[in-house]
Amino acid sequence: MLALFYIFIGIAIGVSFWQITRIMNLRGVIATDEDNAKQGKYALLFMAFFYAMMIYCLIFMNVIMLPESASIEGEHDDNLFNITFWLIGIVQFVMQFLIFYFTFKYRGNKDRKAKFYADSHKLEVIWTIVPAVVLVVLIGYGLWQWNNIMDLSDSEDPVVIELYSRQFDWQARYAGEDNTLGRGNVNYIKGRNSMGVDMSDKNSLDDKQVTELYLPKGRKIHFQFRSQDVLHSAYMPHFRAQMNCVPGMVTKFGFTPKFTTEEMRQSSEVIAKTIGINKIRKAKGEEELYEFNFILLCNKICGASHYNMQMKITVVDQEDYDEWIAEQPTLASILNN
């Protein structure tokens, strides 16, 4: 195989060298009127290709996008995103048209005289002010939403969960009855205490360590993040949630799940996406069909198996959640046995 490959490369180099020297022998270095005419037309053709591609992607790639936000806080993210996307979409289509159309329209020739037009105070002011005004709106809405998401102080009775990252998996701990997490530090990592929980802290005793996340629908979840070794990032795309896990530091983020996993599976967007995925999986010969699940991924480069660091998230109704959490053993009962 290797030898064949080298031969192929050799032939390819030979052919391209022959073609290139052939073109190099065609003298001509400065664009003539014919060149301008031809390149101007190519600019139009390219514009057609570019617009076709942009529109194709915008329409047909809709199905692969993330479904609507599964958290209440994320609704405004989706809104803001849509506003921004429409705006930049329109500007993009107009500007690209002007660029390539002007290239065609004003392609040079001997008879054309360029207009000597060096300055216009009025135009400059217009296209400073207009973007500025538009940006004020975007910035305003953006900052309002940012404060909305990042402010965790006013929620009542949140579910408190710690996510602990390490190469290359996630561990999670629920705060238990007292709704307060016990302290943690790498120095306490030992045996089954893999999250390094300080068991001399009273708050730790009723904490519950789990391998899968269950979240109750409609209640605010307060996440706190720690990392055991390097930087990781807890990315929960369906909830529009992400926060880095930093060794030596505790970071926080919160959201309120809006749909249960079951409800999400019934949404038309998710159904369409699932059908698409399963078509591809079948074609590839995969036995197992894909079924929608919320997921937690690592989104900060963290080492060789970065691409395979995940945890399943299941959103259920409050009753199912209560049932599930009651079944989980407390840390005290595990570690003291």
């Binding site: 993210d77 290239t103 990592i189 055991q228 390097v230 990032s233 999986r281 894909y290």
Partner: protein
Amino acid sequence: MSEHHHKETFVTKYIFSQDHKMISKQFLVTGMIMGIIAVFMSMLFRLQIAWPETSFTIIEAFLGNHQTDGVMDPDFYLALVTIHGTIMVFFVLTAGLSGTFSNLLIPLQIGARDMASGFMNMISYWLFFLSSVIMVISLFVEAGPASSGWTIYPPLSALPQAIPGSGAGMTLWLVSMAIFVASSLIGALNYIVTIFNLRTKGMQMTRLPLTMWAFFITAIIGVVSFPVLLSAALLLIFDRSFGTSFYLSDIFISGEVLHYQGGSPVLFEHLFWFLGHPEVYIVLLPALGITSEIISTNSRKPIFGYRAMILSIMAIAFLSTIVWGHHMFITGMNPFLGSVFTFTTLLIAIPSAVKAFNYITTLWKGNLQLNPAMLFSIGLVSTFVTGGLTGLVLGDSALDINIHDTYFVVAHFHLVMGVSAIFGMYAGIYHWFPKMYGRMMNKTLGYWHFWITIICAYGVFWPMHFIGLAGLPRRYYSNTAFPMFDDLLQINVVITIFALVGGTAQIIFLANFFISMYRGEKATQNPWKSNTLEWTTPVEHIHGNWPGKLPEVHRWAYDYSKRVDPNDDDSDYLHGQDFVSQITPLLEGEEHS
């Protein structure tokens, strides 16, 4: 600089040259070699993304012990993306672009015999060469080169236990970058001093071509921000080698607790991005400067809004130093800081928009000479707009949460700084090749090169936005662990095909470049009918640039198609031609534009 001839040996002329024109060619060729390496790497990892864990002969042939049966190892995938990024950002687009054209054009366009210090200029190149050599050597270290991303966030970059590339490979990376920073600082100081002090008679700051303004401001940003990268690298070296804890704290790895206490990786992120963001503009502004010059010359029109262009370059430069936090919205930084950085970041859209509008207005009612350089400049405006607009999404902290570190970001910055800057670099090469080598490049090959490249660039990066919006994180060796991303695979195949074709097509350019160097048509003194001073020098290079006295400047650089009566488009051209060189005195009664 005296005018008498020094006796030149081969070594002083071609190797340890202090002549800015030779140094610029050295920068260019070194940058191109590094560029070839980096593009080739991207083609290798695109293979892995499109056809994960498939055996490829080419991977077997090139990756040595970092592959098994033609499948690349996951940690070497990370090494490839890391080195691709590092080389592209620093070695190609900083040194290769700014180093080449600042050196070539600053003395020529301001009317100086050489840089303020030819010796420092030479040192700057040789430090760059040394750092390139070290970076290339790091590829051959047994455990592989640095592989923690081009941003080398600790602790991953600090701990060899965390990833093999953080051993000797990372050490070489840091040494190479430290030398690189020294090189770029020496270069930048030289550019600033030269532009301040060596302008020829009549060349007021307000008559400088926009290329000069762009290079000047770029050099200032470089001087302000590059030292911070050096300090970040030094502290990282301390943490790695001398047991300090600037960036590290509370780490348990490979079954033991490490001694580090009290440091924070967030400190590193601040220091890194204090360079890292201005770096984007260090890469982009020279390309925009080159574009301004080329679009104006080939439109046969003055650049629209000269003063607004200068003001927006300054505004961009100032803002670029106070926006670095938008790379860190979700690092656990205080949310209030996030608000401030959102605000400053989105402000950059205003001067950027002004620049884009001004380019388009310059095209309007022009007499466009569609040379390859002109096409690349138009291409730059197009990709700059496409890539810049998505910056409005990423710069907004609330939206950044969900697309941070996804392929949306990859698409955004590749278009706005990668492709745009490369287009600017190509435009510059096609345009000033006659000034560098006294010969012309072939236009037919130039056209092929342009159209294939722009089609492939958009073919790669436009669909990539959507993959990011589907939530796919960047720097994933393969997506097979997540069935939810299965429907992205076909798109990745298409992207990879565009990438392979686009990458391979650069051979057209290389062939054109090297063959034209020896066999291209002989250049005339002013092939593009341009106004700037470099086209008043003789075609054959001489020490000191101008024989006899230095030229005197009487007007700005953009008197294209100026009429006898400036308000009457039907009146005759001034001096009977559609350009008026900067050295032509004003006619009686003629007003400055």
